[in-house]
């Protein structure tokens, strides 16, 4: 600079009219000088730098323009040229020094790193001490080393064998800035934790020894080289951070010593900005981390006690203020600080969260069901196969050996877990952090809003700063977050679909290996029906179905069974015969219906008359008596019998008897009688003597004085069919529903009152009594 001024003074005399120009130029140079000082001092201020470099650029353009304008005086031009040349030379000399320093320090730094890794990190890793987490101490020092090595090689490449006028250092930094930032971000981000971890390690004697052992060996090496600048572990750890903050300073100096016409100038300017940005970003990251940590801690690690203790008047008032503010905003719609980017990102974030949650839930459900479905389907196929194939036959042909079948499903499950569910759940677990911060941001926003309204200076500033820090951080990181989350989500869905496809493919192959010839559905039915028919034709089926049908029938229509008794019932003929043959002491009457249980037993209906021939059975048991019904002889349990009392019988059975009487008077009786006999096929020749004995009994009963007339009235009564009834034999009468019938007799031949003899449209026959309803003429 002094030199410049000196030249300016030397030329003053001759080139007076250029003084003004020169002065302005001088001023500009001066200004630049101070500017750089300012710049390097405020290297943390991103926006300021941007503005500055922009102004520098415009200045440069101005100068170019000046150079281009032809109206500038020749002399002035010559002077500027000469001056500039001189200046350039000086600057180039300085530039080469700076470059040299840059390369040299980088080389030293790299060597330090190398030694550190070789002597400290590696041995510690190799020792594998349980409680010593090398990664949390050194985090990614290896990649820091790599990036440094890369930088150095690039720098050497750019400087060695290149004309100083053509050396472009800025490009190197621009080229490497991305990885540089990433690497150092991680390192610096973890440095705080590393520091605290180191402190905790140094409290433990064993670990401390290990560490100091390593550091000692490193120190020895340094001692040998005569550079005893290393004192302890923490100074080792902080080295990369020191280095990364050094880059902007070096680059700034390099730029200042680069003539504007040098090809490197623009690149250096950009590189300077980039490196400064890196530092700013790293700083921001740490600040945000602190802020985030503060709010994260708030919720996570607090016990109830802590919370209570924190519940001060201040916090209560803060919270209540927020609530009222929130209500104000809701109700009055007051103007509010808004950030549309944030809102958009937040919405996206929430949708992503919901999607991920749903996906995890639904996919795991689906997986469960798929597993079940596959398992059961396979099982049933195998079972059916077992049933439908005999074992000795075509065992080898069937490809579905149970052993290999379940694997595709297991495979699918494992893959699905690995490719879909695990990433999704991992993703899902990352959502709460930002959520909490978003909530906090809203709180801060409310604070900020309330201060805005009251326009309280300092507090407003603080609230604004906090809000803005949170907001800026959220906006920036939510975008990254959302993009990454979306990508993961899409990836997982794609994986899911692909896995389904593969699963289906595997299953298809599995089954189609056993694919049979095509069968039409009807064909199957035909085949199966044929087989089933054959089975139905087997005897045991027939037997059963017969009894089934019988039971079914008897269940539905109990009466029809009774009309078809295997044994003919006692008729009055038989009664009279008994009465005439046996003495009254020998006559007994069935107390209730009695069914044959053994061979030679006979069936008796209630009220039937029997003559006891012997009061024991052939085995000498007196519980079974040999009786004669007049129709058949056989054994009956004596408990079913009671002595015959003619008078009582007449009264009790009056109805029956009278019915019989009526029956006799009807011409129908003659015709119906033979049919009935033919149906029951009575073996005895009862027909032959029926008329004589019948008239005998009739006479006898009539003399017993039953009221015939009253029954004849009843006889005349007209009933109607409540249900339709279909005759099953020619002694029965078919009825239509609501058909009118005359009832001729209210019991059948054996005195069963459930069957009535009816007449309708000139036809006569028996109908079940409960099918009939009484006709009233009302």
């Amino acid at each position: 600079m002094e030199h410049e001024e000196a030249t300016g003074k030397g030329n003053m005399g001759t080139k007076k009219k250029n003084l003004t120009f020169l002065r302005s130029r001088l001023y500009m140079l001066e200004r630049r000088k101070t500017d750089t000082v300012v710049e390097s001092s405020v290297s943390g201020d991103h926006a300021g730098t941007l503005r500055r470099s922009q102004s520098d650029r415009t200045e440069y353009n101005q100068k170019l323009q000046e150079k281009m304008t032809p109206q500038a005086g020749r002399a002035a031009e010559a002077l500027t040229q000469e001056e500039a040349e001189h200046q350039t030379r000086r600057m180039m000399a300085r530039r080469s020094k700076v470059i040299e320093e840059l390369v040299q320090t980088e080389r030293d730094y790299l060597k330090d790193l190398e030694l550190c890794i070789k002597e400290v990190v590696q041995p510690l890793r190799n020792k594998q001490i349980d409680r010593l987490d090398v990664d949390s101490l050194f985090s990614n020092i290896e990649s820091v080393h790599q990036i440094s090595a890369k930088l150095l090689s690039l720098l050497e490449e750019a400087t060695a064998d290149v004309e100083p006028a053509m050396q472009v250092i800025g490009e190197v930094f621009l080229q490497i800035k991305g990885p540089l930032e990433d690497t150092y971000k991680i390192y610096c981000y973890h440095h705080d934790t590393a520091h605290s971890v180191l402190e905790s390690y140094e409290k433990e004697e064993e670990l401390k020894q290990q560490l100091s052992l390593c550091v000692q060996s490193l120190q020895n090496i340094y001692m040998q080289e005569g550079k005893p600048n290393l004192t302890n572990m923490s100074s080792l750890l902080i080295k990369p951070i020191q280095r990364v903050t050094k880059y902007p300073l070096l680059l700034c100096e390099l730029r200042n010593s680069t003539p504007p016409s040098h090809p490197d100038f623009r690149a250096l300017e950009d590189a300077f900005t980039a490196v400064k940005d890196i530092n700013v970003n790293i700083n921001e990251l740490k600040r945000w981390k602190d802020l985030v940590l503060k709010y994260k801690k708030n919720d996570e690690e607090e016990s109830l006690k802590d919370k209570l203790s924190k519940l001060s008047i201040h916090s209560i008032s803060k919270k209540s203020k927020r609530v009222t503010n929130y209500l104000k905003i809701l109700t009055r719609g007051e103007s509010q600080v808004k950030d549309s980017t944030f809102n958009r990102e937040e919405k996206l974030f929430r949708s992503l969260e919901k999607t991920a949650r749903h996906c995890v839930k639904n996919i795991s459900f689906c997986l469960q069901h798929i597993q079940d479905a596959m398992h059961f389907a396979l099982q049933s196929v195998l079972q059916l196969q077992e049933i439908s194939c005999t074992k000795d036959e075509e065992e080898g042909v069937q490809p579905e050996a149970p052993g290999n079948a379940p694997y595709p499903c297991d495979d699918f499950v494992a893959h699905l877990q690995k490719l879909v569910l695990t990433p999704l759940s991992a993703l899902l677990s990352l959502f709460p952090g930002p959520q909490k911060l978003i909530q906090k941001r809203y709180d801060k926003l409310l604070d900020y809003n309330s201060y805005l309204q009251r326009a309280a200076g300092e507090e407003s500033d603080l609230a604004k700063k906090e809000y803005e820090a949170l907001n800026a951080q959220l906006v920036e990181e939510l975008q990254v977050f959302n993009q990454a989350a979306r990508k993961i989500l899409l990836n997982c869905l794609c994986s899911f679909i692909t896995l389904l496809r593969d699963l289906m493919g595997v299953k298809q192959q599995l089954y189609s290996a056993a694919a049979p010839v095509t069968l039409l559905v009807s064909n199957i039915f035909e085949m199966q029906n044929r087989v089933l028919e054959e089975v139905q034709n087997l005897n045991f089926m027939k037997d059963n179905s017969a009894t089934f049908i019988e039971r079914k029938l008897s269940f539905e229509k109990k009466k029809p069974v009774q009309i078809l008794p295997e044994v003919p019932r006692q008729t009055d003929t038989h009664r009279s015969k008994l009465l005439s043959t046996y003495s009254i002491e020998e006559l007994y009457q069935a107390k209730r219906k009695c069914n044959a249980t053994q061979e030679y037993d006979i069936n008796l209906l209630e009220g039937e008359l029997v003559a006891v021939m012997e009061q024991k059975d052939p085995l000498g048991s007196t519980s079974r008596w040999l009786v004669d019904t007049g129709l058949i002889k056989g054994y009956v349990y004596s408990s079913f019998l009671k002595p015959y009392n003619p008078a009582k019988v007449q009264k009790a059975g009056a109805e029956n008897r009278s019915c019989d009487d009526d029956f006799d008077n009807i011409s129908l009786f003659v015709s119906s009688r033979p049919t009935r006999n033919s149906v029951t096929s009575t073996p005895e020749g009862s027909i032959s003597d029926s008329s004589s004995s019948l008239s005998g009994t009739c006479g006898k009963f009539e003399t017993n004085g039953t009221d015939v007339d009253s029954f004849q009235e009843v006889d005349e009564q007209i009933f109607y069919a409540v249900h339709a009834f279909e005759a099953r034999s020619n002694c029965e009468l078919s009825l239509q529903e609501y058909q009118r019938v005359h009832i001729l007799r209210f019991c059948d031949l054996s005195g069963n009152k459930e069957w009535w003899l009816a007449e309708a449209q000139g036809q006569k026959g028996y109908v079940p009594a409960n099918y009939l309803g009484k006709m009233t003429y009302a």
């Binding site: 991680i186 992503l352 999607t355 749903h358 990433p423 692909t498 087989v531 045991f540 037997d543 179905s545």
Partner: protein, 253 residues
């Protein structure tokens, strides 16, 4: 047989030859096993059907939930993908329904019909057992009288007992013979009967899975042009997750 301990002192001849009894047991055992199998199969088929339906339902739910998500309004790509997925899932559901119907018609119903034969068989076997019991009882009675002194009443009783025995024995023998003859026939009929069902079942599965394979194959092609492999995706996911974890807003613990 279990009544061996009770016949101490009265050695009786086996009224049913051991070989016959063994044959009968074997044949009936096979059939009982078959019955058990068909019953189990019916249960499993039911489970399988239920699981199938539940599966397609849950699959449809995946896409429906995705479709109803607000994310779709904001992201056209995502919407397209989800719509495609939804279509595929619905088709899967339809095919699944068809498969289930097919299985119901060609496997489950025939199985039920076949299963309805067993009660008759069991009844027949029970009747045979009953007849055998009667036969045994009467046989014992006859033997008892035979051992007694031949007095008048004893002879009468012996005669009577013999008379009683005869029809019971005939009845049992008829039943036994019939069952011995028919059980293997019934057992063998299952082969012809179930083979078509089996084929139909396998076929239904093949049809279903090949359709599914096609549907999802098309879907993957439609959605995933670059054709990422699973490993690529996994790596990408891991990278993205790490990226997320590195964010300061994400809680790291």
């Amino acid at each position: 047989m279990s009544w061996i301990p009770f016949k101490i002192g009265q050695p009786k001849k086996q009224i049913v030859p051991k070989t016959v009894e063994r044959d009968f047991e074997r044949e009936y055992g096979k059939l009982q096993q078959l019955e058990e199998q068909t019953r189990k199969l019916q249960k499993d088929l039911k489970k399988s059907t239920d699981a199938d339906l539940a599966m397609s339902k849950s699959a449809v739910k995946i896409s429906l939930d995705l479709l109803s998500n607000p994310l779709c309004e904001q992201d056209q790509d995502f919407l397209n993908m989800v719509t495609a997925l939804d279509t595929a899932m619905k088709r899967m559901d339809a095919f699944n329904q068809e498969k289930v119907n097919q299985i119901q018609k060609t496997v489950v119903e025939p199985l039920k019909k076949f299963g309805s034969v067993f009660p008759s068989l069991n009844m027949a076997v029970k009747r045979r057992e009953q007849a055998l019991q009667d036969y045994r009882r009467l046989q014992a009675k006859v033997e008892k009288y035979e051992e007694k002194e031949k007095t008048g009443p004893v002879l009468a009783k012996l005669h009577q007992a013999r008379e009683e025995l005869r029809p019971v024995r005939d009845d049992f023998e008829a039943k036994n013979k019939q069952l011995l003859e028919e059980m293997p026939r019934f057992y063998n009929s299952r082969l012809d009967y179930f083979q078509p069902s089996f084929e139909s079942l396998v076929r239904a599965q093949v049809v279903y899975y090949s359709e599914m394979h096609k549907i999802f194959g098309d879907l993957t092609q439609q959605l995933d042009q670059p054709g990422h492999s699973d490993e690529q995706r996994e790596r990408e996911n891991e990278a993205k997750l790490n990226e997320l974890r590195a964010l300061s807003i994400v809680a790291d613990d």
